[in-house]
């Protein structure tokens, strides 16, 4: 059941969205006629299996019906609105990576997102691009489109022929690779005769990545921090630390047993490093080719922020840059005292207040207040 207040709040919010779409429109995805769309007001997706013939039709829909949420398929279909799914005739799909606060830190997953928490998510995005997509997979910066999700994360879309016809298994392989999911570090070490061989810090791919990080942690970090990162006991760490010169020396030549370290200890250390170096993201979104993703350049119904293309990730702060509404004052009934960041620190007391439109939209979208009078 939704209450009358909520209904009013939603109607007001949609009216704001309508004004925005009338003025700014959206940037439709390529091959729009092959995409499935889903829209929602109550939930993120109340209806799916929709399609639009062209950009104009989509824009017309947003301006007349104006849902609070609109998503589209990473997949391309012959018949995007056909049901059930298998009648759609999938032709291929973009490659998507989905980052959300919830996957990154428990402390960040509830309440209003903070600049710091969103910064943590951004770090994962940067990690994926700089450590994996470019050096390992050879994608170019232009292939990689980064979007703020409009709420608590980021999406990466890769749209090109290379990824178009990857099947589900191949997509899983890719996302497992970048997140180190299901990695068994034992495969990096091989026993040859009496000695234990492992990757060089200069090796390509994960082998080199793990070796390099291990050398770095052992030789550069303060002992207590290093021990924590490696996840080993004090006594084991002691043994390694005192002979670290030798150990590193051996690793640089691919010999991992100049200092006697048990296989179990190697496994613990390498697995801890893999966890640290792997990208934290929602693997399912990449694997599930028929998934719907928030439409870029639309507005997000839980924040009123723009699902914005991020051109300069370094400088991007969604709580500044994705704001689209203005500063005109709106009268609002706020349910409880609030403190959050949006275009600056906001401290708002419960009760009747006047707030700039962009703050008002944010609060209403979060269900923390209702507009008064304007209806």
């Amino acid at each position: 059941m939704i209450t009358l207040e909520e209904l009013n709040a939603k109607t007001w919010l949609r009216e704001k969205f309508r004004e925005y779409y009338a003025k700014e429109g959206v940037e439709p995805p390529p091959m729009i006629w092959q995409r499935e769309f889903g829209v929602g007001n109550e939930k993120k997706i109340d209806y799916r299996h929709m399609s639009f013939r062209d950009d104009k039709e989509l824009l017309g829909y947003l301006r007349s019906t104006t849902p609070l949420y609109i998503s589209y398929s990473a997949g391309y279909y012959k018949f995007p609105s056909a049901t059930p799914m298998e009648k759609k005739g999938m032709l291929g799909a973009d490659l998507i990576f989905d980052f959300d606060l919830g996957d990154i830190s428990d402390t960040c997953s509830s309440g209003f997102p903070t600049v710091e928490c969103l910064g943590l998510v951004k770090n994962e995005v940067v990690k994926l691009i700089e450590e994996f997509l470019i050096p390992d997979f050879g994608f170019s910066k232009d292939d990689i489109l980064v979007f703020f999700s409009g709420s608590k994360g980021y999406h990466i879309h890769i749209r090109n022929d290379l990824v178009f016809d990857l099947d589900q298994r191949a997509r899983k392989e890719l996302v497992d690779y970048v997140s180190a999911a299901g990695m068994n570090v034992r495969f990096f070490l091989r026993r040859e005769g009496k000695s234990l061989h492992g990757p060089l810090p200069s090796s390509n791919g994960w082998g080199g990545r793990l070796a390099k990080e291990l050398v770095k942690v052992i030789s550069e970090y303060p002992p207590e921090k290093a021990r924590n990162i490696l996840g080993v006991s004090k006594s084991v760490f002691q043994k390694i630390s005192t002979r670290r010169g030798e150990l590193v020396d051996g690793m640089n030549r691919g010999l991992w047993d100049l200092v006697p370290v048990s296989m179990a200890t190697w496994e613990v250390m390498l697995s801890s490093l893999a966890l640290r170096l792997g990208v934290k993201l929602d693997r399912n979104v990449t694997i599930d080719m028929s998934r719907l993703i928030r439409l870029p350049t639309s507005l997000h119904g839980s924040s009123g922020l723009l699902v914005e293309r991020v051109k300069n990730l370094d400088k991007f702060n969604p709580l500044e840059d994705a704001i689209v509404f203005g500063r005109k004052y709106i009268r609002l009934h706020v349910k409880r005292n609030l403190e959050f960041y949006l275009g600056g620190e906001q401290k708002i007391e419960a009760g009747e207040v006047e707030l700039p439109e962009f703050v008002a939209v944010y609060i209403v979208a979060k269900g923390e207040g209702e507009p008064i009078g304007e209806l």
Partner: protein
């Protein structure tokens, strides 16, 4: 590819009948399959023999043969066999044919000089650079075993460097896929060859005919698919095997029948399989294992062709239960 002479070119084409060189030769021979020429009759017979051999695992070819005519017939048997298999509209046969042909290629590749392998890579649509192949081809065609997963490979700027043996494996599955993709078109120009089909009909592998309480019609798409793959002897990964076994245990298949499901697996070991199935059935600890949830099935890439009912269930088992309830309701 440089050939010393025509014979050399012909021999190469017999070994690799999918290459542009081979296709060019076939085109130039310009044969008419409708004629009653003894040579054509021989080509068609050889094609039928070829299919039968493929179904048993691979073709027996003799590219060292000195007689041009005999070589030509071997070469021509390939396109004709393809036409026949496509006309059969039998997916099972298509799969086995693709398997057999790609196995045959693998045998030739294993002894081939490096330049031959390098020449064939782009012919199979595989992007390669030096000893490395593009990651896309790698992840699309890599073997199933854990050790081959992308993590453990050396990858840089989009290319995975792998040894010859692994390249051969990748080429083999790329070729298998290529055959399957191209066999899906029905060659309507060649309907007149349909009269040859009865000769190549094969006995299918024993279907799963358990007629106890479980009703296989009500199985969800994922399980139907896994069972079909198991029946066709396709190698199933660990999670796939667990999923079927746990599903069948829960719908009441007897242990023996479940063990049988796996008997076409390339590395089938009856005792070990039975042990696992009994474990899943809870014989050891009284805990019957449930099949993975749909969500898990999706992450394992085992959820295929989900239908309308799928969107209402969270586990393949509930799919079955709902469907059975509906059936009974109607019946």
């Amino acid at each position: 590819m440089d050939f010393k002479n025509d014979l050399d070119e012909l021999r190469f084409s017999v070994k690799y009948p999918f290459t542009s060189v081979a296709k060019g030769l076939v085109r130039r021979m310009n044969i008419d399959l409708k004629s009653n020429d003894p040579e054509i009759v021989e080509v068609i017979d050889t094609a039928k023999k070829r299919i039968k051999e493929d179904l048993r695992g691979g073709v027996i070819l003799d590219p060292r043969q000195k007689l041009t005519r005999a070589l030509e017939i071997q070469l021509l048997s390939y396109p004709v066999a393809r036409i026949l298999v496509a006309l059969s509209r039998n997916n099972f046969m298509k799969k086995r044919f693709a398997e057999g042909e790609s196995n045959t290629m693998r045998k030739f590749l294993m002894g081939a000089p490096d330049e031959e392998v390098a020449y064939l890579l782009p012919e199979l649509g595989i992007k390669a650079e030096g000893g490395s192949i593009h990651f896309k081809d790698y992840i699309m065609f890599m073997p199933d075993d854990e050790q081959y997963r992308l993590f453990y490979q050396s990858i840089s700027s989009g290319y995975v460097s792998i040894n010859r043996d692994l390249i051969v494996e990748i080429m083999t599955s790329a070729y298998r896929r290529h055959i399957l993709d191209t066999l899906s078109n029905y060659p309507s120009d060649f309907e007149f060859l349909k009269k040859e089909l009865p000769d190549i009909q094969i006995k299918r592998f024993e279907r799963f005919e358990y007629t106890g309480k479980a009703n296989a019609d009500a199985f969800p798409p994922c399980m139907k698919n896994l069972l079909a793959e198991a029946a066709a002897g396709e190698h199933l990964g660990h999670s796939a095997r667990f999923a079927i076994a746990a599903f069948l245990v829960n719908v009441g298949y007897p242990i023996d029948k479940i063990v049988d499901v796996f008997k076409n697996q390339p590395n089938f070991k009856e005792k070990l399989t039975r042990y696992h199935v009994e474990y899943i059935a809870g014989k050891k600890d009284g805990k019957k294992r449930l099949p993975p949830s749909c969500e898990k099935m999706k992450t394992y890439a085992l959820c295929v062709n989900p239908d309308a009912l799928c969107s209402r269930v969270k586990n393949p088992l509930s799919y079955y239960k709902v469907k059975m309830r509906n059936k009974r309701g109607r019946g």
